[in-house]
Structures are given as C-alpha cells and as structure tokens.
C-alpha cells in the first residue's frame, strides 16, 4: 500500500543510500562497534531492496530477508564476542590498533 503511494523507485534509492552510508562508515570510522553497526546497515539496505522487489518477483525475496536477519543475528553474536575478547586484550576498540595479523 505504501509502495503504491510512493514513486516507483523510492525504496531502491533509500536502499542504495543506506548501503552507501554503511560502506562509508566501514571505511572511515575506527570504532569497531560502529563498524559493526555499519555492516548491519549494509545488510538491512539489502533487505530493503529484497522487500521492495517482492511484489514484482514473488515471495522469495521476503523469505530471503528472514534468512539474512537470522545470519546477521548469528554474526552479531560472534562478532561482538570477538570484539569483547580483543577489548580485554588491548583495552581499546580502535581498529587501528588491531594490526597483528600481517607479515
């Protein structure tokens, strides 16, 4: 219903803008938590695109969104645990300090 009152591509534009914000955040910000939130933002931008397409392409898009949410939840659990562990070690969440895994 909302989709009918809005311009045809509005959802896609919003999705693209959210994704770009997420990408910019991942590249620019140094706080690992913020970085994590930016990744979530990118995932949900993709979800929005799926949902926006579902009236035209069938129910698969919405099913896919559930999968993405489930995987994102799992990822959040693992990711936050890693950040917590690293924080205990380094006492910071600034990712510029995390550069041990290099040659």
């Amino acid at each position: 219903m909302i989709a009918q009152t809005l311009p045809a591509n509005a959802g896609l534009y919003l999705s693209a803008i959210l994704f770009a914000i997420g990408v910019a955040g991942v590249m620019i910000r140094r706080n690992a938590i913020i970085l994590f939130m930016c990744i979530e933002l990118m995932l949900n931008a993709a979800n929005l695109a799926f949902v926006w397409f579902s009236p035209f392409a069938g129910v698969q898009g919405q099913v896919f969104v559930f999968f993405v949410i489930a995987v994102a939840a799992a990822e959040a659990a693992v990711g936050l645990a890693i950040i917590l562990a690293v924080f205990r070690h380094k006492e910071t969440v600034n990712i510029n300090e995390f550069s041990l895994l290099r040659f």
Binding site: V23, V26, M27, I28, R30, L35, I95, N96, F98, S99, L100, L101, R102, F103
Partner: protein
Amino acid sequence: MLQHTTEAVGAHGTFHPFLLGWIVLLPLLGFLINGVLALMWWRRGPAPAGPEPSEQEAHAHGGDAHPGVEEQHPAPLDKPWTRTLPSLVAPGVVLAAFAIALVNFWGMLGAELHEPVIERYWSWMPVGSLQVDAALQLDQLSMLMTLIITGVGALIHVFSVGYMREDPGYPRYMAYLNLFIFFMLVLVLGASYPVMFVGWEGVGLCSYLLIGFWFKEQANADAGKKAFIVNRIGDAGFLIAMMLMFANLGTLSFSEVFAAAPGGLAYGGVVVTAVCLFLFLGAAGKSAQIPLYIWLPDAMAGPTPVSALIHAATMVTAGVYLVVRSSVLFTMAPTASLVVALIGALTAIFAATIGLKQWDIKKVLAYSTVSQLGFMFAAVGMGAYVAGVFHLMTHAFFKACLFLGSGAVIYAMHHALHATHNPADAQDMRNMGGLKRYLPVTFATMGIATLAIAGVPPFAGFFSKDEIIGAAWLGAGGTSPMAQATLLGIPGTAVMGFIGGTLTIAALLTAFYMGRMMLYTFFGPNRTGAEEERHLHEAGPTMTVPLVALATLSAVGGFLNVEHEVPIVGWFDFGQGAALHHWLHPVIAGSEEVVRANLGELMEPHHAWWPIVLAIVIGVGGLLLARALLNPDALRPAGVEPDYTSAPERVLYNKYWIDELYHALVVRPVNVVSQVFYRVFDRGIIDGIVDGGARMLQGIGLYTGTRVQTGQTNTYAFVIIIGVLVVLGAFTL
C-alpha cells in the same frame, strides 16, 4: 598368451618346438622364488647395517675368500630352508631348461631344418613402420648356445651350491644367477635385434650385480661399476647399429634383415661397413676386446662360479654370437670383418702376454679368457664362423672347468687359512704349491682342461684352435671371403698372414702361462704353511662332480668337429666328420650366398701339413717350455717373492699400465670437464638463473606485500569495494 608358431618343414619331416617359451621362463621362475627368499632372509636376518665380523675377517684373506666363513660364525636368525630351498630350486630350473632344450635338440636332429623356427608371442613395439614382436627364434646356432648355457650353467649352479652355501647372501646369489640364465637365453633365442638387446642389457645387469656381490668392500663395488660403464660404451655402438639398420632396411627382425640386406645394401658399402663396425663395438664391450677389455680382469672380484659362468663360458661370448648371427652383414662388409679379425688377433696376443706375469690365479684365467675371445673374433672376422662357434663351445667347457677348478683351489686354500687365522691371500699362487697331493680331483680335471686350452691333441682346444689358426693360413692363401678386401691399403691376404703369425705366438704364450699356473699351483713344495697344510682337502661332491663333467667335455668336445681332409686332425674322424659344420650350415648359408653373388666361387682350400705340426709343437712346446724355464721349488710365498724382478716383467705385471693410461686419458679429463660443468654451468648458470629468479620474486613480494597488507581492516574493505565497483562498472559498460 598369443602364440603363432611357425612350424618349419625340414628335409626329413616337420619340427615343432617343444615348450620353447618354458626354456626361458623356468630360470625366471627360479629367480622369483630365490628373490622372494632373499628378501625374506633380509627382513628376518641380522641387521644389515655394518659388515658382519665374519666378512671383516674374510677381508684379511683377500678378494674372493668368502665362501664358508660362516661355519664358525653361524648367522643367529638363519632359517635352514633359506639354504636348502635355493640349493634345490636354482640348479633345478636350469636342469629342467636343459632337459627341454635337449628334447628340442633331438627334434631338430631328425628334421634338418633350413629355416629358423620363430615363435611369436605378442607385438612389443608397434610404432609406425617399426614393428617389433616379442618373439623367440630357434635355429641351429641358438640351439647350440642354449645347450651350452643351460648345460654348463646347470653344472656351475651345482658347483655354486657347494661353493656359496655358507655365504650369508646365498639366496640372493642364486636369484641373480637364475636371472642371468634367463637374460642369456633371451639374448640367444630372441628373434630380432631389439629382443636380443633386452637380453644383452639384462646379462650386463646381472654381471654388475654378481661382480659386486660382496659390495661391502669398495673394490668389489668399483669393479662392478667399471664393468657396467665400459659395457655402456659398447652398448651405444649396438644401439647406433640398430638405428642404422632400421633407417636403411626398415626392419630389425633377423630373418627380414638378412633377407633384405643383400639387395638393399651395397656390398662393401659405407652403410653396411658402419653397421658392422658399430655392432663390433657392442661386441667388443661385451666380449672384452681391445680397447674395451679392461673390465673383465676386474670382474674377478665376483664369486668364482660367477667368473666361470658369466665371465668365461657364456656372457662374454655373446659378442661372438652377435657376429655369427649377423654373418650376412659381416660378409657384406669385408673391411669391417678384417678389423674384427685384426682386433681379435691383437687382443689374443696382448692379453696372453699380460697373463704371463700375474700371480692371482683368477687373474691368469681372466686374461686367458680375454685372449681366447680374441681367437674367436679372429676366426669370425676371417669368415670362419663355424670355427669361431666351435672355439666358443670348447672354450666354454675347458674355461668353465679351469675357473671352477680355481674356485675349488681357493675354497680349499681359504678354509685352510681361515682355520689357522692366517691373513695370507688365498688366491695368490705364491701361497699355494704342491696342491696336487691334497686336491687330486681338482688337479686331474684342471690338468685335462689345461691340456685342452694349450691345444694338445686330442683334447678339445686342439681342434678348435687349430681350425682358427688354419683359417688364418688358408685366408693368407686367398680362400677367405675377406681375402680380396683391403684394410687401409693392405691386402686382406697379408692381414690374415699377420693374424696367423700373431695367433700362433699367442697360442704358444697360452700354453706357457697355463703351464706356469699349473706348476705354481699344483707342483713343488707346499707354501701354505705347516699348520695350514693339515686343513687342505677336497670339497664335497657338489663341487667335484661338475669338475669331472666339464673335464670330460674338455677332453672329448673337440671330436664334434673333425675335418677329415685336414692332415693329422683327420685321424680323429670316427665317422662323425665335421658334424658342427653340417649342423650350423643353415645358419651361415646366407653369408655363403653373399659370397657367391659377389665374389663367385672361392678357391678350394688346400690343407698343408706344416700348420698342424706347428700347432702341436706349439701346444706341447709351450707347456714343456714352462716346465723347463720355471722352477716351482724355488718359489717363495707372497711377500717374500717379489712381484717382478726385471723391467719387462714389471711392464707385464702392471698390465702395460693400460688402466692408468685410461685413467689419465679418459677418466680424469671426463672428471675435470664434469667438474667444470658442475661448478660453472650447473652451479653458476643454471642454479644462478633459478635461484636468482626466485630471489628476485621474493624481493618484489616482500616490497609490495608489506605495503599492501597493512593489517588495517579499513584498507581491505576499501580495496574490496573498489574491486566490486570495477566489476559492476565492467557489467554496465
């Protein structure tokens, strides 16, 4: 197994080969059984690391002094059946092969074949126009060779049972010996040059394995290596000859080559001469002719029965067999044949002179073998193919007998020296003397064989050697197919006159050094030592029975081929006549055809009295000369008696320093060149390119890698996104 058997129709009926493949397969089966036993012994036996104490002790007694050392030091984990099973299997399979060969021989006697019987098993090398079958060929020549190999081989296997039974490596030894018989039979029964070459290489391998049988001593391993490498030079010649034949005739099977050669190649032309010279290079390697003879004396490092079987009776005669087998080609290349004859004659006299001043009983026999092989090559080079094969056969009898006899002497000497812990050399004749009292059977059999090799009538060597020297004199008179050829401008008749003279002197030297060997070994006082004397005794029947059998053959083998028209020799014609000549006639008929087509009918040979009288005088005279000039009573043991007393003796004792010459002219330059290539080319250039390239890439990687891999997640994310954008951009474009 695919079998396409040609049944040959002879003058008196058909002949079917009887179990031909089994003659070859049985020794292979024996090899497999003994090989498995050897492996089992090796796995269960004492730890292979480090020489066993018994062998160290044997070392003190000199080279071939190992047999029987285990009597006082039994190997702790040795199962008795690893001794008894090889003793039954190894001689058994060879005897069985001999029995099958005999059945075939009776069949062939009745049939009088004119064509070889070819048994084809499968197609081995179908490559384009090269078609080589795995096929065996039975004709009169390969039949004779098979009988010699399996017959003499079986006797030597039996002797080996007595000689080697106590050796720790006994099953391995028997396995190698069986494998050798297998390859030797492939060599003589193969129906084409490539199949023959398989046997040719195989016997070389077995020779290497058996020369270096006691490989824990460096000298023995080196001797094996030397034999193998020197043979490779000859084998290269054999290979080139095969390639030339294939390039010019398009086939390699015996029957097709000999059918195509007279029409396809020019008589006396460059191609056939080159083929023959390269074949002879191969033969010279295998049969120890100048310049490749140097490996054979060193090959005496192997066990003595091996010297008898491989380095006297069978393998070293393979070169003679090759020339006789290729008689059509050699008759077409008279110049190459003259080279063969000349080198044979020179080898005969050269080796005989060295044999005059050797103290090691086996070394005397080794140089004697080289010399006798020279006689055979002189014969086949002059077109007297049957004479060459005849001498090959009689030589197999008497030289096998002499070698086994020397083995019995060494065995007895070693036991005596071992019992008293005397470190003297068991093979040095200066340490022997007067052995006829202790080893009567060995003395009698070796005596007969000595009379045979010296050429005393009516023993075997007289007839065969006389036929060769007679062929030289007849060739000088112009009856040989090579008489009209020239060698470097010298007419063939003159070359053959020279060969006749050379061989006569070589025969005199043969009788002399054999007389010397017998005098120093069996006559005079005993120089072993009083304590050792009590331990000298004859070995068991496994060693004496083969000796007696071979001595009998040495005594009567010559009667197989008695030319009735030759004076004196004709007295021994009891109705058999020149049986070997008739038997082998179909084999050399092709070469006679070549002679008839290109030279017309040759002069009828006229046999004179004087060569025969000369031969007898030389044979008996050489032995008497040794008796007159040498005094075994005055000889002192090794260490006391000097190696040589005068300058000529010094030259002979040091074998003309040929080994040192080769070392300086061939081995050292090759080593220097190898070192240069190793250091400059291999280490410098090749390794430089490879290592340098790798090091450069490593540098680039280190420089860029450490800059790209920052460890900063943001950088990676940035790179990923740039990549994604590039990919997406590429799609939209």
